[in-house]
């Protein structure tokens, strides 16, 4: 342990002393955290709490990617809703069966003062206010095949906090190409899911989902609601898994998946399949390369747009 004595300054010892007092999380783990870097893709409902806790715990460098601006919510400003209509729409929506997009009103990192400004700026300011000693890197752009490798290469661990199907395949493939562990969280309505992909021989996203879901599953449901605290819980759990991977402490949620049902307060951790030999990204005969990744059309593959446009109600 004394070999790390050079890496924690007196200020750092003071700041992280609560961690250092943990029997199972000592000086070495905190030193690992301080040396590590985490890229959070998406600064919305999942990304906001994940970013706050990653900054607070003392990850050395935290990158934030998002192209969006802070809005009071994502509904079209000009809409007018009357209650009868809203209820009708709610009914409709419950049959609309959304599976792919759920932006979150309650992105706790973004204060009203930042409405209209970049989400990355807003998130970075919040992180710096909590812990000025962490290096925060702002990537104010959409994460696309053209910039993904270049951005992700500089980080050790990736947190997928996005909200659409093509981004999830793209981020997975980029992690496989670059060999980065991927902390994947998702939330919709009152449910949430969490797992760690591409970690230590475990499965990747494509091992579980080789084929994208049918677009009929998402066609008439440009948006669905979400209770903000649900992505809050999943985002915190993503931070926890990233901290465990970064500090090399504990057993990350690889080969297992956490399923949260908020309404019934049921949480289960289930065992999922291992790495698939047939996987087109990470399998035995996979031929995924940086060049192939750059050329792959994820919107075409999933038949869904990378950037989810705000719901426009036509009542």
């Amino acid at each position: 342990e004394t070999t790390f004595s050079g890496q924690l300054s007196a200020d750092m010892i003071y700041r992280y002393s609560r961690h250092l007092l943990l029997p199972s999380f000592g000086v070495e783990a905190q030193a690992n955290l301080l040396k590590s870097s985490v890229l959070v893709i998406g600064a919305g409902g999942l990304g906001a709490p994940a970013l706050l806790y990653l900054a607070a715990c003392g990850v050395g460098r935290v990158g934030i990617v998002d192209h969006d601006v802070v809005e009071l919510n994502n509904l079209h400003r000009q809409m007018t809703i009357k209650f009868g209509q809203l209820n009708t729409w709610t009914m409709y929506n419950s049959y609309g069966f959304a599976t792919h997009t759920a932006k979150c009103l309650l992105q706790i990192i973004h204060t009203e003062a930042y409405i209209g400004r970049s989400k990355v700026e807003s998130a970075a300011a919040a992180c710096r206010a909590i812990n000025s000693s962490v290096q925060i890197v702002e990537h104010k752009e959409a994460f696309r095949t053209s910039n993904a490798l270049e951005i992700m290469r500089k980080y050790d661990i990736v947190v997928d906090a996005t909200d659409n199907v093509p981004s999830r395949y793209m981020i997975n493939d980029c992690c496989v190409v670059l060999g980065k562990p991927l902390i994947s969280g998702a939330a919709l309505g009152l449910e949430g899911q969490l797992t760690v992909y591409n970690y230590n021989g475990g499965p990747c996203y494509r091992c579980l989902f080789p084929t994208p879901p049918p677009t009929t599953a998402c066609q008439r449901c440009a948006d669905s609601g979400v209770l903000g605290v649900v992505p809050g819980i999943i985002g915190c759990l993503q931070a926890l898994e990233a901290i465990k991977v970064a500090s090399a402490v504990g057993e990350p949620l690889s080969g297992r998946m956490l399923l949260l049902d908020a309404l019934s307060a049921r949480i289960r951790v289930v065992k999922i399949r291992g790495r698939s030999l047939q996987c087109e990204a990470c399998g035995e005969n996979a031929t995924l390369t940086e060049q192939k990744f750059r050329d792959f059309d994820y919107e075409k593959f999933t038949q869904s747009p990378l950037s989810t446009s705000p719901l426009k109600l036509d009542l």
């Binding site: 998406g42 919305g44 409902g45 999942l46 990304g47 419950s94 049959y95 069966f97 959304a98 599976t99 792919h100 997009t101 759920a102 932006k103 979150c104 906090a161 996005t162 909200d163 659409n164 199907v165 999830r168 969280g185 998702a186 939330a187 919709l188 309505g189 449910e191 949430g192 899911q193 579980l208 989902f209 080789p210 084929t211 994208p212 879901p213 049918p214 009929t216 599953a217 669905s224 979400v226 992505p231 998946m257 399923l259 049902d261 019934s264 289960r268 951790v269 289930v270 065992k271 999922i272 399949r273």
Partner: protein, 100 residues
């Protein structure tokens, strides 16, 4: 055979928004000695799915994006469609989420 079937991630909307179903799936009438997941899927499609079955199945298996868990284990680990079910098994069908 007594089974607990659970639907989540939106799939419950195909079954009148009911997430948990305690069901009794007969095997004798059909002359089956064993109940496999293949049989169960077709039973679910006939007896529980009230609308848009294409959101649940594709061909003779579940549609892409649906995870199947038997007693909290991915059915890939037990033989997928060929898995033989036992009394009181819990089978979960959950659609993967992409929101955030």
């Amino acid at each position: 055979m007594q089974l607990t079937l659970e639907f989540g991630g939106g799939l419950e909307l195909l079954c009148n928004s009911v997430k948990i179903h305690q069901v009794n799936v007969g095997t004798q009438a059909e002359g089956m000695k064993q109940l496999t997941m293949k049989h169960l899927l077709s039973w679910v499609r006939t007896n529980l799915i009230k609308e848009r079955p294409e959101m649940f199945m594709k061909g003779d298996t579940v549609r892409p994006g649906v995870l199947v868990l038997i007693n909290d284990c991915d059915w890939e680990l037990s033989g997928q469609l060929e898995t033989v079910l036992e009394e009181k098994d819990v089978v979960v069908f959950i659609s993967t989420l992409h929101g955030g």
